[in-house]
Structure formats: structure tokens, C-alpha cells
Symmetry: C2
Subunit: 280 residues, 2 copies
């Protein structure tokens, strides 16, 4: 299949993450498309509009934008029209629908989703919880968690916990070490109502990742750390532990961290209906 190179300009008055997420999701549906993405964040004044427009003049392409201030948006639109480029207002249908359900007038101020308010500070606390917890296992921390992830080494427990932290969920993790029982604090936290979820992956995949780690900078791991037969035993032992304690399991072999995190959110939301959404 011949690759179709296209320059895509993404213009935002804030970080550009919303427009990037939307365009990445849609663009990923076109197998032939090879996008050259140019991100223009923090376009909040006429100077920034002019800078973005001159970048578009230099490398013409389709333009996707989200700009809250109507005056800035109008200037941007006119500039794009003068350049004759195809363009769209990414959030237009969302604003149309919100406008139709009687919620007042938009504030037109950029970056309001990133206000450093109470809920933002809660998110930062959740990230720090995941990072600090990773140093070692304090029983009181397990008790304070919204969810505890357990699994053998390299099942992406830590990055998944920190990712959940960015979403405001306090996630703790606990490694399953071959031949050793998990600490009693785990079962105590579980009995107190903290959800525990097991992560697993195919032994082949784990061997591959661990080998990479051994080849890398970290050489503190044991010599049989990446041995496939040993890993098979470890994974089987972990699976038996999950089964014995009726712990729900996610197989992360073909899952990205984002997908694993979404599945975890769904699992803990189901236990405590409507209590965990970012706005509820």
C-alpha cells in the first residue's frame, strides 16, 4: 500500500492534548495515511495566530483547531481561509450539543480544564501516591489505595499505577515474587474493601521484556530473571494465586497502558457505581 504523506496542523489555545487525541484517534483509522503532525499549542493572542499561520504557509496542510476565544478563533479562521487550506473546528459538535441542553454561555477562556484547583491537587496527590508507594510497601498505604495491582515483574504495574494517578485514582502495586506469599497487609486491605486486580502476561512476552532490561542499564536482576521456563512457573504460580483468592485478572500481553488503565477504571466503577468518574 503506498503511504500517503499529509501535513496536519493542530492548533490549540491550551496544551493541544485534546486536538491531538482527537486527530490521532481519527487518523489512526486510515492505514495509508502517514501524518506529519505540527502542533501549535498556547495560541492565545494575535502574535501566536500569526506564528501558526506562517508555519502553515511554509508547509501547507489540513488544519484542526480548538480555540475558546471567539475573536482569536475568527482571526485564525480568516487566516486559514486566505491560505486556502482545509480546516475544521474539532470541538464544534460538542459545543453545539452542550449549547442545546441549556447550560448557559461558554466562558471563552483557554485551558479551563487545566485549572490548578482542588481536583487538580487531588490528581497530583494520586500521582505522588503511586510514585512514593513504588519505593516499598507500607501496609497503611495499601489501605489508603483506591485499587491495588499485583503481578509478577514486568507486567506494567508501575506505569499503569502512575497513569491511573494522572486520572486521580490512587493506585498501589505489589510484586508477586516466586515462592513467596504476598504480605498479610494485602489481604487485610482487600478485606477492608480495597479492590485488588491481578495483571498477567504471556511468558514469551515477559521473557522478551526482561531480556531487554538485562541488556539495558539495569544489571541488578537475578541471572534466571529472563529464563522462559522459570517465567512460565512464575506466571502459573501467580495465576493459581489469583484463582485461589478470586482476584480478577487482566492479561496485558496485547494491551497498552491506556487500555489496561481504562479496564481497571471500568472494573472499580462497577464495584462502586457512579462513585469514581472524574466529574462525579
Amino acid at each position: 500500500m503506498p503511504l500517503l504523506r499529509r501535513t496536519l496542523h493542530l492548533v490549540s489555545d491550551s496544551t493541544g492534548e485534546t486536538v491531538l487525541a482527537a486527530v490521532t484517534a481519527a487518523a489512526s483509522q486510515y492505514p495509508a495515511l502517514q501524518p506529519e503532525t505540527r502542533l501549535h499549542p498556547f495560541v492565545r493572542n494575535m502574535t501566536a495566530v500569526e506564528t501558526a499561520l506562517s508555519a502553515m504557509a511554509d508547509s501547507p496542510g489540513a488544519v484542526f483547531y480548538t480555540v475558546a476565544d471567539s475573536r482569536i478563533r475568527q482571526a485564525l479562521r480568516e487566516g486559514i481561509a486566505r491560505l486556502g487550506l482545509p480546516a475544521c473546528d474539532v470541538l464544534a459538535p460538542v459545543f453545539d450539543l452542550l449549547g442545546s441542553i441549556g447550560v448557559g454561555e461558554p466562558a471563552e477562556r483557554p485551558g479551563r480544564q487545566y485549572r490548578v484547583d482542588r481536583s487538580y491537587l487531588d490528581r497530583v496527590a494520586a500521582i505522588e501516591f503511586a510514585i512514593a508507594q513504588d519505593d516499598g510497601i507500607a501496609p497503611d498505604r495499601l489501605m489508603a489505595a483506591d485499587v491495588i495491582l499485583i503481578g509478577v515483574s514486568r507486567t506494567s504495574k508501575t506505569p499503569t499505577c502512575i497513569y491511573l494517578g494522572y486520572q486521580g485514582i490512587r493506585a498501589a502495586n505489589l510484586p508477586l515474587v516466586p515462592g513467596a506469599e504476598p504480605p498479610p497487609a494485602l489481604m487485610a486491605a482487600r478485606e477492608a474493601g480495597v479492590p485488588v486486580i491481578g495483571l498477567t502476561a504471556s511468558p514469551q512476552r515477559l521473557a522478551q521484556i526482561r531480556q531487554q532490561r538485562l541488556n539495558g542499564l539495569d544489571t541488578r536482576a537475578a541471572p534466571d530473571y529472563a529464563d522462559l521456563d522459570r517465567i512460565r512457573e512464575e506466571v502459573t504460580e501467580a495465576r493459581m494465586f489469583f484463582e485461589r483468592h478470586a482476584i480478577p485478572v487482566i492479561d496485558v500481553t496485547r494491551r497498552s497502558i491506556e487500555e489496561t488503565a481504562a479496564q481497571i477504571r471500568q472494573m472499580i466503577a462497577r464495584r462502586t457505581p457512579a462513585a469514581r468518574g472524574p466529574h462525579s
Copy 2:
């Protein structure tokens, strides 16, 4: 101002992050709106469509959806119409624009942006880089970084580094300790072309965050860790260091991690034009 409560159903065939980002960004513009968000991720078959529809019947509200498969999308639309709920296809304008620039037909397969491919593995490596690096400072790691963040304690260096990791950027961080010169490896990495960015924050803000930390579980910090006068001296010393070495500075006092990360990306992209975008 009276708060307007509205139930917002977000339906996705993948993690729901795209539709959540779009609706959160737009909804944050309505100061009176108090959204009750109900996320329905992984809606990939007719059973999941029915589950989402019955949740909507239970708590009616506006529906925002992104579903790649046209058959699933159609069933969802028809169900929403039967319930008489207002709804919108969040990515419609993005697909319309991509369709108009000749990039073929969409694949209609859910979650393609989360494929566990080469670029995904690079992202995981970048996250691990940030996490591993945080243990201590190895000079060869500083040399391998895409960017090095420096600043006094609690200027959000670590969460910002890990967040950049999720975006595929290998970020290292180095604390500035009062009265101590940074290690020679920092200047060596900088001379080798690794960008160094200073983070700072208002002493009041730092005192507040550090006090919180002292009140929390971590009591390893020094007794004058949260003393305002000492923090003022620390911040001044750091600012002088940045100035002496012409290191660009970001003040994170009123910035969220997402905004700081976006600014860092913009700063390092400017140095190496078009080399750092997620698709370039």
C-alpha cells in the same frame, strides 16, 4: 450562580480518553455546568451497545460518542433516537476533513491509536526511563535524555518527567540542593546538546506543598524543609544558577503538569524543528 446539573454519557469503542478529553475541554467552558459524567468504554459489540443504552434509559442525558465500526455506530444512534436523547458524533468533523484530503477509506477498527507497536514500545521505554532515572543520577542516563529538568524540591520535576515519558519523550530530572553545585555530568550533557530546563515556583507555594508532605506519611525530610525563609533562599539560589548558565525557566506555580509538559515540548521542538512530534 445556580449550578446546572446535567448527565453526560460518553460512549467509546476504546478507552474513552478521546471523547473524555473533548467533552471535559468543552464542558469546562460553561461555569454553571456541573456535569455528571458516565463513561462507557470498550463498546465494541451489540451487547455492550445494549448495556450502554439501558444506562442511558436509567439516567437520561446528552450522549457523546466515538465509534469506528459503522454497524455498531448505527445501532447506537438508533437506540439513542428511540430514547429521544440529544447526541453527537464527537469526531465527525475530524473524519469529514480527513475524508476530504484523499487518504483512503477508514479501517473502522476500534482503538487503533493504542496498537502495541514499535512506537508504543518506545513510549514505554521513555516512561521507564523517567521512573528508573528518578532513583539516582547516572551520568550516562543524563546523556541519553531528550531533556533534563532541574529545580528545587517540589517543583513537580518527577511527575512532569513521567508525563513526558507517556508522550514518548525521555526526560531526566535532577534536584537542585541548597548549597551544593549540580554534578559535572549535567553540564557535560548540556554541552553535548541535551536541552536543560529549569523549573521554579513561588516560595509560598513550595512551603505549602512541603508542609503538606511533612503532614503526610513521609517524615524523612529535614526540619527546615518547609521553612519559608529557607525556601526563599533556595529559590533565589536556583534562579541565580539558571541565569548564570542561561538555562530557560518555567514557573510552575499556576501551571498544571499537562501545561508544563506542553511548554517543555514546545521548547525542545523549537530547538530541533519538526523532529519531536509524536508522528514525525
